[in-house]
Structures are given as C-alpha cells and as structure tokens.
Symmetry: C2
Subunit: 524 residues, 2 copies
Amino acid sequence: MPVAVESAIPYPTPRKVDLAHHLSTEARIRQPNPIKSVWKAAQVRPGIINMGNGDPHHTLYPISSMNFIVPSLEGDHPVEAWRTGTSKTLVLSSHKDAPSTLSLRTAFAYGAGAGLPAVREALADLGARIHAPPNHTVCLSLGNADALTKCFRLFGDPDDSFLCEEFTFSAMTNAALALGIRWVPVRVDGGGLLPEDLERVMRCWDEKKQGKRPHVLYTVPCSQNPTGSTISLERRRRIYEVAHIYDIIIIEDDPYYFLQYDLQINQNTLKEHGYTRAMSEVLPRSFLSMDIDGRVVRLDSFSKVLAPGIRLGWITSSPFFADKLDMLTDSSTQHPHGLGQAYLAELLGPTGWGADGLMKWVHSLAREYERRRDLFVSVFDAKVAPTGCASAEVPQSGMFVWIQVHLETHPRFVVRTPDSGSDDEGDVLGAVMAAPGVLGEVARGGPITNTEQLMSELLRKLVESGVIMIPASTFAIVDRSGSTLSPIGDRANYLRATFVGTDETIRDGLTIFAQALEEFFNLK
Amino acid sequence: MPVAVESAIPYPTPRKVDLAHHLSTEARIRQPNPIKSVWKAAQVRPGIINMGNGDPHHTLYPISSMNFIVPSLEGDHPVEAWRTGTSKTLVLSSHKDAPSTLSLRTAFAYGAGAGLPAVREALADLGARIHAPPNHTVCLSLGNADALTKCFRLFGDPDDSFLCEEFTFSAMTNAALALGIRWVPVRVDGGGLLPEDLERVMRCWDEKKQGKRPHVLYTVPCSQNPTGSTISLERRRRIYEVAHIYDIIIIEDDPYYFLQYDLQINQNTLKEHGYTRAMSEVLPRSFLSMDIDGRVVRLDSFSKVLAPGIRLGWITSSPFFADKLDMLTDSSTQHPHGLGQAYLAELLGPTGWGADGLMKWVHSLAREYERRRDLFVSVFDAKVAPTGCASAEVPQSGMFVWIQVHLETHPRFVVRTPDSGSDDEGDVLGAVMAAPGVLGEVARGGPITNTEQLMSELLRKLVESGVIMIPASTFAIVDRSGSTLSPIGDRANYLRATFVGTDETIRDGLTIFAQALEEFFNLK
C-alpha cells in the first residue's frame, strides 16, 4: 500500500497483535489454487512460453473500445448541474489496441482476485489520504454485500456469536444465520452504538450458558441502517478500546461515509490541496483510522456515491486478512468484472476525474442529499410533527430517517408493568400477552406493551393509504440471553424512511403519512 | 422459461422427483431478505410511494451512455475478419435517458439476483432451442467459478462426498475442500468419465467405512479440464441413468460447450432457420437435455466465447434449485453487475447480434480454434511424436491437449509389482518407495513406479528450457478409499497443454518441448 502520500492525519503506530485465531475453520483449511504454484515456479524464467492455461487471446475478444459518457466536473456543484441537465459531459474511453488507463486487453482477461492495480492503487491512495490506516491493504469487492458476507465466511463458524446494533440491516445479518452464526444485539440511541452496552455484553458473557464469546462486531457507523445515526468520535474511541480489551474484530460497513451533511470544508485547504485533503479534514474519523491492532475490516462501496448497479466496492484490512479474503475470492467469485474496473480506471485516472475529482463529486452529491434531507425535515415539521403522533431526529449523514411513532398516545396502547399480575388486565392486553410477538420474544424479555401489534396495524394502514416505510421489527435483533428487562419489541415503535427520492416523493409521501397517522390515532 | 420456441429436440417428459434432501444445511436454513416481505405486502397497491429503500435516484448516476465497439458479423467468418483487422464494426449503445434494449436506469440500479429479464430471457430462449430441457429456469452467474462454488454451498455439508473425474480442475475442487467436502475420483479415459466406474463406486460404497454416500457429481463433459476429453452421447445416457438410480445431482460445468470441432452444420438448416437451429443439430447432447428428474445443474459461461473479464455466465436448473440459488445470491454477491448486463443486452438484443448472431460468432470462433488445434497437432506430429517420448489424442472440443509422456521408455523409469518384496530392489526404487508421492498416496494405493518423481524432474526441465505446461499431478484426485490397486500417481504421466495461444506460441512452444523431452530422455 502506498504510504508516501500527503495525509491530514498522522499514521498511528501499529501494535503487534496476532489475530489468526479469529479465522473460521473454512478460512483456516482453504488451500490456494494449485495451478498458481506451477506458475510461481515458472516465473523464475522471464519470457517463458505459456502453454499451460486456457486463456482466450485478446485478438478474439469481441470488443475493441468502450466509451462512457459522464458528467464533466466543471463548476462548483457538478451534481446539481448533472441532475438538472445543464452539465457538460466528458467521454471516457477504454481501448483494446490503443492507449488507455486500463487496457481492455487486461480488463477482459482473467485477472487478480483483489482487483487490477490501476483501480486498487487509486483507492488505496485515496484511503491512505483519508483514513491514514496504520498497516492495511485494499482489495476490490463486488459491493458491500459481497464484502460483508465474505467477512462472515472469513470469521464465522457455526455457533459463533457476532455482535451488532440492536436494529440492523437484516438482509445481511440473515445471511450469517445460514452459516450458524448467532447475533447478539448491542443497544443504540440517537448517537448510534452504545460503548457501555458493548462493554456490558462482553463483561457479563457467560460461556457456559451462552457459548463461545462474541469475537466480531458488525457495525454501520455512519447513517446506521436503519436508525440513521452516526457514531461520535468519542464513542468510536471507546468502542475501539472495548474491542481491543475483549479482542473483537470490527467489521466497519460504511457505504454512506461520503454522504455527510452540515460539513464546512476549509476553502483555503481546498484551493491549496484539493478536495481529498479538504474532505479528509471534515469527514468522520473511521475505526480504520484508529486501527493499531489490525482488527478493523473496513467496507466501502460505490453503490451510494456512483450507482448500485456498478457492483464494486473495496475492502481495507490488515495484509493478513486481505490475503485470506483473496483466497476466498479465488475460491468463489474470482476477480471483479473488467467492465466496471475499466470504467473506474478511466474515471479515477489522469484523463478522467481523478480521485480528487471523485471527492469533488461526492462533496457535491452530499450537498444534494443534504438539500433533500432538509426538504424532508421541513415537510415533516410542517405536516407530521403537528399531529403529535411521530417525531424524527435530523440525520447527519446517509439516506435514512428513523421516525419514532408515539404509540404511547394511541387510544389502544396498553402497557403492563413486569411486577403486576397476569390475569387482571382487560381482553386486549390478554391477547397481546398470550403469544410471543412477531419478533419471537417470550417470557422474561417478552412483550410488555402492544407496540408490535399496533405497528403492524399502522404498516397496513400506510400501505392502504399509499406510502411504504420499513417497520423497525424488520431490523430488530432479539436478545436471546434472557437477561434483558427491556424487550426490543417494546422499542420497535419506529419506521425507517428515506429522503433520497424526488422532491415529489418526499412531499407526497409525508403528506400521506401525516394523514394516515391522524386517522390511525383517531385524531380525525 | 419460454417454451413456445422452435426446437430441434423434442422436450422429454419430466419425472416427479423430490430432490430437496440434497440441499445443504446452510441452504435449508437460509432465510429470505425480510425487507422483501414488506415489499411484497406493499405491491398489492399499484403506484404506492416508496419511502422505504435507500436507492439512489437515476438522475444522480454519473453516466448517461455507454458505447461498445464490437465486430459486425458480416461475411462468413467474422472471427477471422476481426482477428486480422478486416472486420467492420458495430456500435452498441446503452442510454440512461434514451431508448435502449436495457435502460441504464435499470442496469445501474439495484436489480434481481438472477439477472435482468432482457439478458435472462435471451439466454433461456437460447437454452430452450439448444437443450430443450424439460422444466428448467435460467439465472445469471458471475461466471462458472461463482456458479460452481455456489453449487458447492447449495449441496455440500461438511463430511459430504462429491464425485468428480479423477483428473479435474483442482482450482475449483479445492474450493469445496474448505467446506469439508471430500472428493471421490471416478476413472476417465480418452472418452471422458467412465459410467461403469461411476456405477462401481456407488455400488461398492460402504457407508460404515466411507461415510455418507456421494450425492453430487461434478463433471466437465466437453473438453474435460484437464484431459480435453468429450463424453459421448452413449456414455452420457449411461451416466444419467446411474445418477437416477443412485440419486446423484449432476453439476454439468460446460464452459467449452460451444467450441466443438469437426462439426458439419447443415447449410440448408442454416439458410432456413439460422445458426441457432443449425448449431443445435450438431452440438453434443447435454446432460441438461436428458434431465427428466431435475437433477442437473448446468453451468454456461461467456469466459471462453466472449472474454473472461466479463465475469458473467448462466445457470440452468430446476425451478426449485434456481430459487435456492437465488436466495444464496441475495445473501452473497447480490445481482450481477449492470455494466456486463448492459453489454450483453445490447449484444443479444434487436439492434445487436441477437442470439442467432452469438451462435454465428461462436461457430466462427470454433473454426478459428479448430485451426489452432490442427496447427498444434501438425507441429506435434512433426516435432514431438518422432521423439517417441510423448503422444496426444486429438481433442474434439475446447482448449486442451492431454499429452501422455512415455515414461516407461525413460532410462531411469522403475516399476515394482505389488507382489514382490520390498527390500530386493536397488537404491533408486528404495528411495521412491520410502515416502509417499507428492499426491500423498500411501500403503496400498501408494506409488509402485517413480512416475511422480520423473514428472517433477521433467517439469523443472521444461521451465528451464522456456516452456510451461501443467503437470497431471496438479489435477489428480487421490482415491482415499484404500480400494484401488492402481494409484493415480502412476497414471500422472500427462501434461495439460493448450492450443489457444498464437501460432508462434504453438510452434515455438512445441519445438522447445520436443527438444527438452529428447534431452530428458537422454536421446541427444
């Protein structure tokens, strides 16, 4: 990894920590491709004639050039210009038989699992300037779903316990369940993951009752999915320290990292050093940037800052884990597609935007999303807040607003204190208590309110009214330890909404939402 | 899957066979993405406003068009014209805001794990016309490595035994070892996998000694990698019948399928019905085409017929397995990249080659590879065969020649009969017998010749001389049952060579090879 770059943050000093014991059985016993060892032996002789491999010759690839029409980055706010159709365009070209940043002879051939140097080095350089990680390697991924599920296979054995935010991106955490991994929830608030709860879970862990101690934390530190929260620097430091003390690997899944709002970049830095340096001064400190142990695996994605269909991202980790991930890639997806690498190589290369241009784009993109967030908040304040039925915190980053529904004011809301008897309530409550909630919680830790039932009714009401948000129950991780006094079902009075749609979607959607809430709460 | 297409082969009648018991634990317990169930509930109301998902809006994708410059298919032999620079070109265009076969608004968005309809349906249609499978579904893959390793996860549990050709593509079979799957070799000859040996392995299987019976066969039926053999129709029928009797899933990995040589397509069919129909009449019958049970999972790839860097292929399987593969894709790689799907959609669409054009291309490509194969054979006959040290069968398909080295004529070749004593041989043999071969065979089933040692020396000699082929030992699957009298190390006197390089590579490589053989055999 190139280190001779100008960085805003001084490199921390790595600690020597052996983390090999975190590998899964699968990762431990995985063997390298045996054909590669023959190749290695052959590489001692330059110019050797290859009659070994079945690689189609580039003269037979049915493509000679690709062009990509992209926005030029002229002007101060290129995303605004592009979106409104006033942007100039730039033609990026990749060629097979003419000079390109990445030749199509290479892009369309079999390649390295970790990605081709043109792209990998540009991203490693960008990462070094922003995060200044102590000793890390960059590999391409096929986006964060690919990267994250590869991490599950890298670290997870059946019956392992992994930690995550108590509301989390269940589409991905469910993927780990199929490997026999169990999720252990850590409490969150509006500021994200609570370090003291992480510490509590680890301190109180009873291996006899609960099995092997959790050794991996999966976290989305910026615009946490679904709560939209961003962890403060102070909390991040404490979380990293808990991870160090209890020997936890941190999977830092950060697709929304570049979409930070209310940031003021220093105009002098911008003029003198460009966007990368100016952005690095104001972007949040990542776990990666603090990772003196090599216990952070950071996942970045192009899905939110370029487009999801590109299916490319990058993983930054210790060289040891990078090597193991590379072996998994060779044994599964193989190298990332050449078409996307060609696009990125030209985009990030000397005739394209360059990495600094990418930072200009994401800075402009964040301003656009900030505008949408502000629109969302103003419509919310005008339409939804006056009903008194719901409120929302203003997210600092990302795409999501975590809307709290004030069910406690609903006419049919019921609550039972854990100490009261079970037979002296009315019919409604009896029905609520008779069965576990949709989240499957039972007994101590079972629902003590009818939150789940009311949220389910509300969701039906929203669909009937013509707007869809995702209910908190979809993201809830149930505490199976039996030790909680506060079941998550009772805290599932939230909806995940997004402000990334059009202005019309935001206005119409929230208007419908407000009306539906009023009807649901019998205010109309 | 569209069935109302004109097919050269009548559809066989499906049998009702429940194959769910073949699924791995992982595949059985995998849960669908919970957010999808919310969406499903919402889909009952058309025009609903989506405030749920974090999908970037297409106005923010920093790309408006892509162009691909590809060969036009004019003339009788488009590959020859393209390769020699005399071909006309065709410009394929994908647009975000203008009509395209596949809009970039769709291609760059989040998409379906099984691929977008434009591409999927074109391939399903092509498959129906060529294989006429009884009841199957097509999903895109990221190439056959992705597809195959997903099949390992779909069917394989730790301690499962899978069957494969005794020399096989170890880069992939090794991937299964990491999952705890054991490989059981089936004997091959110049005509590929031997049905009688498959039947023997299954009939003689002792679950008490050998564990759970093998329930999956991994086979490369055309240009088997590495032996280059193609299984005859008669053998394929017998293999399928064994698979039916012993309840075996067949993974038909067929990347070289379209590269068949010495085929004569019917010119009248070509004129009247086009290339797809004409090719379907002469291409080998696939296992898929016989699959009345739904036990075949067929893997096709664009790597050999377009280019490896495209990283796209397609999987044809029963709808039941397709659904399970789709869930695995949602839980790992997610949908295939939009760039490659855009390229394929335009290539296979009405303004591109169309599927019939693709068949014209592959027909022409096969003629080009046939020319290279013939060149290889003629140089081999002129240079290598006269040494008497090696011989090769002429492959019917694919990219590989399996060169037999006649070690039995080498001055230092030694052989011990299994019945003779162990102490009455000379020093050389003593050394050979003292340790297991590189393949790790021991005891009964241990090396009884010094084949492995001599092949290792020959490989070193080849590298020093300046040419590299891949030794058979790299591909050998050792029989761990202890029942074989003929250890594979003794049959590892082969090299995998390819004829897909340039004419110069073939001429120079084989000339060096012949000289090196003569020196190694002390003939010079």
